[in-house]
């Protein structure tokens, strides 16, 4: 199934793009997508735990199961204000 990835801030800099459609198996959890990103980008190797996770513009548990068409964003440490 297809999931829309959004990359912000340091993750966009590391991954080199701000968004991408990815094809993942049915039943994939958000945390598993994070592990895929870690395999592909060694700057993330030290980050075994995923950062905060947002699905469709809401914070979600990292073990949330993704659905077709979801918008998934990992939220690096926020620093607003």
């Amino acid at each position: 199934m297809r999931v829309r990835m959004l990359y912000f801030a340091v993750l966009r800099d590391i991954i080199g793009k701000s968004e991408a459609d990815v094809m993942i198996p049915e039943g994939t959890r958000a945390a598993e997508v994070w592990q895929m990103l870690r395999r592909d980008h060694r700057e993330l190797a030290g980050y075994e735990q995923p950062p905060l996770t947002a699905i469709n513009e809401n914070y979600a548990a990292p073990d949330s199961v993704l659905r077709e068409g979801d918008e998934l964003a990992f939220i690096p440490p926020v620093a607003g204000g």
Partner: protein, 136 residues
């Protein structure tokens, strides 16, 4: 109503927007780019947001705080983009018939906004640039 802006923050307009004749005071919190952070010099900060989610998260915080302090009128604006030292990144106005609630609500708002809203900052200075909070 958007909580995010790419333009300089007009605090006077924000104050006019919230003040009611029954308000005896307002408290304005204004966050400003400062010239240092953890021992190194800062020249500017680039603010970036996951915009639609940041709008929603700020709105949740404003709604919760308004419920907690029902007498307080609230306005919040966060600026995005590259800001130089001395420029305002966030302004929060809390107007109230009595001052205690205005102070309390303003403090709660800035604390919560800093905790959960998906906004990031990249500090730029003579030592290079760095996303704040990310351990390399």
């Amino acid at each position: 109503m958007s909580y995010l802006t790419d333009a300089p923050i007009d605090t006077a307009a924000l104050i006019r927007r919230v003040m009611r004749p029954s308000d005896g005071a307002y408290v304005l919190f204004d966050g400003v780019v400062r010239d240092h952070h953890e021992g190194h010099a800062v020249e500017s900060i680039l603010y970036e947001a996951y915009r639609p989610m940041a709008e929603k998260e700020i709105d949740k915080i404003v709604t919760n705080t308004a419920n907690q302090y029902p007498d307080v009128a609230i306005a919040v604006v966060h600026r995005l983009g590259n800001l130089r030292v001395g420029e305002s990144s966030i302004a929060i106005v809390c107007a109230s018939p009595h001052r205690a609630e205005a102070f309390a609500a303003c403090r709660v708002l800035i604390d919560r906004i800093k905790e959960t809203v998906p906004i990031w900052k990249k500090e730029r200075g003579p030592d290079g640039e760095e996303w704040v909070g990310w351990q390399k």
